[in-house]
Amino acid sequence: MGTRTRVRITVALAVFGLAATACTGGGSSSGGSTGPAGKGGALPRNETLYTTGTQWGPPANYNPLRNWDHATGTKGLVYETLFHFDPNEGKLTPWLAESGSWTGDKTYDVKLRQGITWADGKPLTAKDVAYSYGLGKIEASAFHSLWSWLSDAKAVDATTVRFTFKEARYQEWDFTLYGQPIVPEHVWSSRTDEDILNGVNDKPVGTGAYKLKSKSQDRVVWERREDWWGTKALSMTPAPRYIVDVSNPSNEVVIGQLGQGQLDLSNNFLPGASSLIKSKKVVSYYDKAPYMLSANTAWLVPNTTKKPMNDAAFRRALAASVDTGKIVKGVYGDLVKPASPTGLLPQWEQFEDKALIAEKGFTHDVAAAKKELADAGYKDKNGDGLVENKDGSALSLKLAVPSGWTDWMEAAKVIAAGAKEAGIKVSTEFPDQNALNEQRGNGDFDLVINNERQLSSTPWTYYDYIFQMPVQKQQNTVNFGRYENPKAWELVQELGGVRTDDVAGMKTAISKIQDIQLTEMPIIPLWYNGLWSQSTSGTWKNWPSDAAGAPKTAPALWRNWLELGGFETLTQLKPAK
C-alpha cells in the first residue's frame, strides 16, 4: 500500500501548494460579485436604485459608530446626524437639529426639531443626542478623542442639548456636528460597551428615511420609510423606494453593467471613464474635463526623518520636479485636476492666499528644481547626471505606492521620471497595500503618495493632517512624513480655535500656516482626486451636474458623503419614465 499512501500525501501537498499559489497569485485581480440582471426579480426596476463603489466586501455590520466598515448607508440612510454640510455654500444645514449656536465661549446649544420619531415610533429626544455623544467616553471608541476637549453633553429639556467644553475647538466641532450619528438611547442603553462598539446591530432602528430590507453576501437592500419626518419638515423625499448597494465587482464588470443600464450609480474609479462619458453612455458632473467634482488631494509625502528629505530646500526642488500636468493628462485622461501649491481643494479656494502663492508657490520647472538643488549644495560628484547627498554619499530614493493601484503606479513612474530630469534618483516600488500601510505607519519609507483626508467643513482638517504633533511611534492617520514644526502646529491649533463664522479670522490664521507650508513644503500636493461618479439615466434622471437647472449636490454614497450632499442627491432624482 506504499504507493497509495504516497498518493494521499501528494494530495495533501497539492493542497498546500494551492494555498501557496493562492497567496502569491492573489493580489492581481479583484474579488466581489454581481451579475447582469436576469428576469423575474423581486424589486421593481423603476423604483429601485442600484449603486456600487462604496462596499468592498459583504456588508459587515449596521453599526453607525463603525463608520469605516458598516454597510453603505447605515449612517445617512438609517442613522442621521444633527447637521448636514453643504460644500457649495460652505455652511452647515440643520438636519435633526433645528438650530445650534454658541451660547457662551465654551457652551454650545442644539435645539432639536419637533416631531421626529425613530423607526419604532418612539420620539427622538435631547437625551438620545446626549447619550450618542456620551458613547465617545468608552475608551476603545473611535471618537474617544472628542472627550479630551468636550466636558459634558446634557439634555436641558426634551429638545435642547447643551454641550460644555474644556477647550472650544470650533473648527473641529463643526466637523463633528455633521459626522456623529445619533442613536436611540432606549434601544442601545441596555447594551454592553463591547456590543455598542463592535455589535452587528442587524436590526437598526434609526430616524432616517430608509430601513434595512434584506442583505446577502454581496449586497444590502434598503427600503424607504413612508413615515420619515423629513417628508414634512424638509419637504423632501428620496425618490427610490429601494436602494440596492452592491459590493464592488471588478472595473470591467461595472463598465458592462453601466453599459446595459443595470447599475444606476457607480462611485468607482473607472480608468477610461472619460471615453464612456464622451460617448454619452454615462453621465458625470461635468461633461468635459475634469468630469468629476474634487473629493480629496493626493499628496507626495516625503519621510522628513531621513536625509535628504529632512531638508526643506530638497523638498522644494522635488516639488518643482513633478510634472503634474503629465499625470493629469497621461495617467488620468483629464479626470482629475492638478492641485494648487497649497493643496487646498477648489471648494476652499477662498482660503488661499493668492499673493503668497504668487511669491512662494511652486510650479513644474526643471530648471528651478536644478537651481534649488545646486544652491542648497547638492552636487553631481560622480558625473552620472544625478546629484549626491551633501556629504557625498549616494542619493537614491524609493517611491512606494500600493500594488494594483494602477493609476497611482503610473503616476509614480511619471514622478520618478521628472525627478530624474532634475537630477534626483527616485525609483518606484509597488508593495502590497497592507505591507505599505504598516511601513507608512512606522515611518519606514522614503516617499509615498497619500490622499486620506477628504473634503470637509474646514481646511483645518487638512492642516491637522499635515502638521499634527507630537509624532507617535505609529502614525496611523496623519503626518505620515513625521514632520515636526512646533510653530506650525501651534498655528493650526490657533486656527482650530477660530469660530467657523469668522471667515476673515480663518483667512488670517490660514495665511500664516500657508507661509510655513509653502516654504517648508512638508508634503507636496499633486492632484485632486475626483468624487468618482458615473451614472446612467435609463431609470433615474436629474443627476447632479453643472448644467443650468440641475442639482449641484454631491452624487456619491461614499462613507460620510451622504451628509455632504449625497442624501440630497437622492431626493432630487426623478424616474426617467
Binding site: 501557496a20 493562492a22 493580489g27
Partner: protein, 331 residues
C-alpha cells in the same frame, strides 16, 4: 476490511493535523499586522484611543498570547466548530461567512469534477478505436488540458458572455434577485453557473480523455487481449476487459487531480467574481483576515480528504485486488 480502513483513517487523521497546522502557520507568517490595519482603517488619530483599540482587538482575537497558546486555543475552538470572528467582515463569525459561500463552490466543483471524469473517460475510450475521432479528440484534448483555468475562463467569458451575450459575465445571481428557493432564483443562478462550470469542465475533460485513450490502446495491445483475440473472443468482450483495467489508474488520477481542481476553481471563481470560497480566499488575503483564510483552507482540506476517502471506498468496489489484499491481510 477493518484494518484497511483503520490504516486509511490514521493516514487521513495525520494529514489533517499537518494540514491544519500548516494552515494555522501560513497567515501568521504573512507580512503585515491585521490589528494595525483595522485600527488604521478606523482613522483613530489620538494615541491613547488607538492604543486602547489595539489592545482591545489584540485581546479579542487572542494575538496578545504567545504563539503556542494561540495554536492550542485554535485547536480547542476548532473542535467546537468555532472558526473565530472574521476581521474583514467584522464581527461576523467566520463559519457564517463560509457557509454562505460554500454552496456556490460545491455547485461548481462536484459537477465539474464528476462530469468531466465520466465524459472524458467515455470520449477517450471511444476515440481509442475510431480513427477519425482519435485524430480530432487527441489534439483537442492536448489543447484543452494545456490551457490554464484562468485563460479558458477569460476566453469563455469573452466569447459566450461579452460577444454572444448568452451568459452573464460575473456573479452568482442577478442584481435584482433575492436568493431563495424559488424558480426565479434557481434559474437565474443556473444561468450564472454555466460559464464557470464550463471552464472547469473543459480543462479537466481534455486530460481524462487523453489518459483514457492511451490506457485503452495499451490494454488492447497487451498480451491478455491478444490471447483473448486468438481464442476467438468477440471484440466487445475484449474491450470490456480493457476498459475495466484502464479505468483503475483513472480512479487514482481522480484522487490526485482533486487538489489541482480545487486550485482551478479558486481562479475561476475570481475571474467570474463567483461568490464562492475562492473569492473569499482572495479577499481574506488582501485584508489580512487570518481567521477567514484559515477557515476557507480548512474547508478545502476537509473536502479533499473526504473525497479521497470516498475514492478509497470506490477502489474496494472496482479493484478486486484491493479486496484480495484485505482478505489476505497483506499487500
Amino acid at each position: 476490511m477493518r484494518r484497511y480502513f483503520a490504516r486509511k483513517l490514521l493516514v487521513y487523521a495525520l494529514t489533517f493535523v499537518v494540514a491544519v497546522t500548516v494552515n494555522w502557520m501560513i497567515p501568521r507568517f504573512m507580512p503585515g499586522d491585521p490589528v494595525a490595519a483595522m485600527v488604521a482603517r478606523a482613522r483613530v488619530s489620538q494615541p491613547e484611543a488607538a492604543e486602547a483599540m489595539r489592545t482591545y482587538y489584540n485581546n479579542l482575537f487572542g494575538f496578545d498570547e504567545p504563539l503556542w497558546q494561540q495554536y492550542l486555543h485554535f485547536w480547542g475552538a476548532l473542535l467546537q466548530g468555532d472558526f473565530g470572528i472574521s476581521i474583514w467582515v467584522f464581527p461576523t463569525p467566520v463559519g457564517d461567512v463560509l457557509l454562505d459561500a460554500l454552496p456556490y463552490t460545491l455547485a461548481l466543483m462536484i459537477p465539474s469534477v464528476l462530469l468531466s471524469w465520466f465524459v472524458g473517460n467515455w470520449i477517450g475510450a471511444l476515440s481509442a478505436r475510431r480513427k477519425v475521432l482519435d485524430n480530432t479528440v487527441l489534439p483537442a484534448g492536448y489543447l484543452l488540458t494545456a490551457m490554464p483555468y484562468m485563460w479558458i475562463a477569460v476566453i469563455l467569458a469573452w466569447a459566450l458572455g461579452a460577444k454572444a451575450g448568452w451568459f452573464p459575465l460575473s456573479g452568482g445571481y442577478s442584481l435584482d434577485i433575492q436568493p431563495g428557493w424559488n424558480a426565479d432564483f434557481v434559474l437565474d443562478a443556473l444561468h450564472h453557473w454555466v460559464l464557470p462550470f464550463l471552464s472547469l469542465f473543459l480543462v479537466a475533460l481534455g486530460g481524462w480523455a487523453i489518459g483514457m485513450r492511451n490506457m485503452i490502446i495499451y490494454e488492447l495491445e497487451s498480451d491478455y487481449s491478444s490471447y483473448l483475440a486468438a481464442l476467438g473472443a468477440p471484440q466487445r468482450l475484449i474491450r470490456r476487459y480493457a476498459f475495466r483495467n484502464a479505468v483503475l489508474p483513472q480512479v487514482t488520477g481522480l484522487a490526485l487531480q482533486l487538489g489541482v481542481l480545487v486550485a482551478g476553481a479558486l481562479v475561476t471563481e475570481i475571474v467570474f467574481a463567483y461568490p464562492g470560497l475562492g473569492s473569499l480566499i482572495l479577499a481574506s488575503i488582501q485584508n489580512q483576515d487570518f481567521f477567514l483564510l484559515q477557515g476557507a483552507f480548512l474547508f478545502i482540506v476537509i473536502g479533499v480528504l473526504i473525497a479521497n476517502f470516498l475514492i478509497d471506498i470506490v477502489y474496494v468496489v472496482v479493484d478486486p485486488r484491493t479486496r484480495t489484499g484485505m482478505a489476505g491481510g497483506t499487500s
